[in-house]
């Protein structure tokens, strides 16, 4: 069976491979995460209680404020960061945070990326070529 590939309009960071953690919900490191425990902590978030560490997060859009620009870098320094961020749309803060923290990021797809990547699937993110591959 051939692998499924989804191309992104915006990309940066290193090539990574890992398990996808998927939800049609937003993302803000300050609003949504317990960065000490490495889990989603906002009760209303669809991933509440789940670990994001080492996962390729596949989510809808950036939410909230500016703190994520520092927090991705800080989380990575403690080995408690997501492996990559893949979103339908991002705000400048997520891109700035990924740039400082050297975290892989893709954004802007032809389809709703949260609807086409199965939760738990093994995926590869290749920012240099601007795609996500399932399998």
């Amino acid at each position: 069976m051939s692998a499924k590939i989804f191309r992104a309009c915006h990309a940066m960071g290193p090539v990574v491979r890992g398990p996808a953690l998927v939800a049609h919900d937003g993302f803000s490191a300050r609003y949504d995460l317990d960065r000490l425990k490495g889990i989603f902590s906002r009760p209303a978030h669809k991933l509440a209680g789940q670990s994001y560490v080492g996962k390729i997060l596949v989510l809808d859009t950036a939410k909230g404020g500016v703190a994520t620009a520092w927090m991705l870098h800080e989380m990575k320094s403690r080995g408690i960061a997501p492996l990559a961020l893949v979103l339908n749309s991002v705000n400048p803060i997520l891109a700035q945070g990924a740039a400082l923290g050297d975290v892989a990021m893709l954004a802007g797809f032809d389809e709703d990326i949260t609807a086409v990547v199965p939760n738990g699937a093994e995926v590869e993110v290749n920012p240099a070529e601007g795609w996500l591959k399932i399998g």
Binding site: M12, D34, A62, V66, A67, A69, W70, E74
Partner: protein, 414 residues
């Protein structure tokens, strides 16, 4: 396509201005290329969000590395100021903050000062330091600052997180994308409002409803139906909440904000349209009323203006609080509050006036654990939206109801 650099930018990138601006420009090019920016635009002011809960040890070390550099240009080129810090050093014991938190704060402050950054420690610089003018390109951090500057002042800024705002201060420019471009500033959805709030919590709740409808950073709501001329504090809460709930950076109020003299100035005919009613605003507020008792009352996010502190002081007259009540303002407003007796009147009732910090940027999770504060009442819609992930049960109410709750320990249902 890669960003086009002018001669000066090519020199900076080649290291001719030193390693600090070189690193800053490299960071900006990464971000600019990501968003397809064609070139840079000169900016006149920068505003840096950099509380140490966000920075952590790694972020402070990164700043200290820049600050230790003596080669070439190693100070900011344009006026560059700071958002609230992670503490009010005079109230740190009251907040239950550790010496480690305070040490990290001191190190960050020392690094910023070496880089030439002015420690204004405020998220209401548009009320206290220098509001930008129409079409002025800036690099502002703090979403509440950006949305006010873009919408009310007609200035041009994206959300610039700490590393990018500092980079803009060091290079005097920022990638030209997003809300620096006229075409990005046109409305993408149309909102008809049936209800014009009067209270600050009402304005915040209205902003929250519209932020949820807008849904992402690139959406620009144009809003019709607001009655009268809103005050700066009302639009402060409105915008800060909209930016928090929706990651929204720009809105237009027809006939009120500078780019929207008339609807066609900012909107095409075919925009998706929504109606927002009083019931929508009340529903958002009620959704946060999850308990009848409170552990703490907090007025913060954004920092309070002198007028807000004056109103609060009047409500505190003759009252005695049974639970802690915190009012957080800027270092620019606090001396006036002291001089005019507002601080003394609030503290006579048992409240505390804090300066230069913001509650959610000050290790809110650790404060909750140290002080046992879970059920929190506030008149800030932004604050209730932020604090859920920090383990609080935040509740939104009017300033009057919050003061009553500080006295009785009970929050009346709206």
């Amino acid at each position: 396509m890669a960003m086009k650099l002018n001669d000066e930018e090519q020199d900076i990138l080649a290291g001719k201005a030193g390693p600090v601006p070189q690193l800053a420009l490299r960071h900006q090019i990464k971000v600019g290329d990501f968003f397809g920016a064609k070139d840079f635009v000169a900016v006149t002011q920068a505003h840096i969000m950099a509380d140490t809960e966000s920075l952590g040890e790694a972020g402070v070390q990164w700043l200290e590395g820049l600050a230790a550099t003596t080669e070439g240009q190693h100070r900011v080129r344009i006026p560059t100021i700071t958002d609230p810090r992670g503490t009010d050093f005079t109230k740190a014991d009251f907040l239950g903050q550790s010496s480690g938190m305070l040490d990290l704060e001191r190190r960050a402050i020392a690094a910023f000062e070496k880089l030439g950054v002015a420690m204004t420690n405020t998220c209401i610089n548009y009320q206290t330091i220098q509001p930008p003018t129409r079409n002025e390109h800036t690099a502002f951090g703090d979403t509440g600052v950006v949305i006010y500057a873009n919408s009310v002042c007609g200035a041009r800024s994206n959300f610039e997180g700490g590393p990018s705002a500092l980079s803009a201060g060091l290079t005097g420019r920022t990638p030209r994308y997003g809300f620096h471009l006229p075409e990005q500033r046109r409305a993408t959805l149309r909102i008809q409002v049936d209800h014009t709030p009067s209270s600050l919590n009402g304005w915040g709740a209205l902003g929250g409803v519209i932020g949820r409808l807008a849904g992402n950073y690139w959406a620009v709501p144009v809003i019709e139906g607001i009655e009268g001329a809103p005050r700066s504090d009302q639009l402060k809460h409105f915008g800060a909440s909209m930016a928090s709930f929706g990651s929204t950076a720009l809105y237009h109020l027809v006939g009120l904000t500078p780019e929207a003299g008339t609807l066609p100035d900012v909107a095409d005919d075919s925009l998706p349209a929504y109606r927002v009613t009083r019931a929508d605003v009340e529903a958002l507020q009620k959704s946060y009323h999850t308990d009848n008792t409170v552990d703490v009352v907090v007025f913060s996010a954004p920092q309070l203006s002198l007028y807000e502190l004056g109103d609060l002081a009047a409500l505190c007259e003759g009252r005695r609080f049974s639970v802690p009540m915190l009012a957080v303002t800027s270092p620019q407003v606090k001396p006036d509050s002291d001089r005019m007796g507002f601080t003394a009147r609030i503290e006579a009732a048992g409240g505390s006036v804090l300066s230069g910090m913001c509650f959610y940027q000050s290790y809110a999770r650790e404060i909750s654990e140290a002080r046992g504060w879970r059920r929190l009442a506030t008149n800030s819609a932004k604050l209730v939206n932020v604090l859920g992930g920090y383990g609080y049960r935040p509740m939104l109410a009017s300033m009057e109801a919050c003061v009553d709750a500080a006295v009785s320990g009970r929050l009346l249902r709206i």
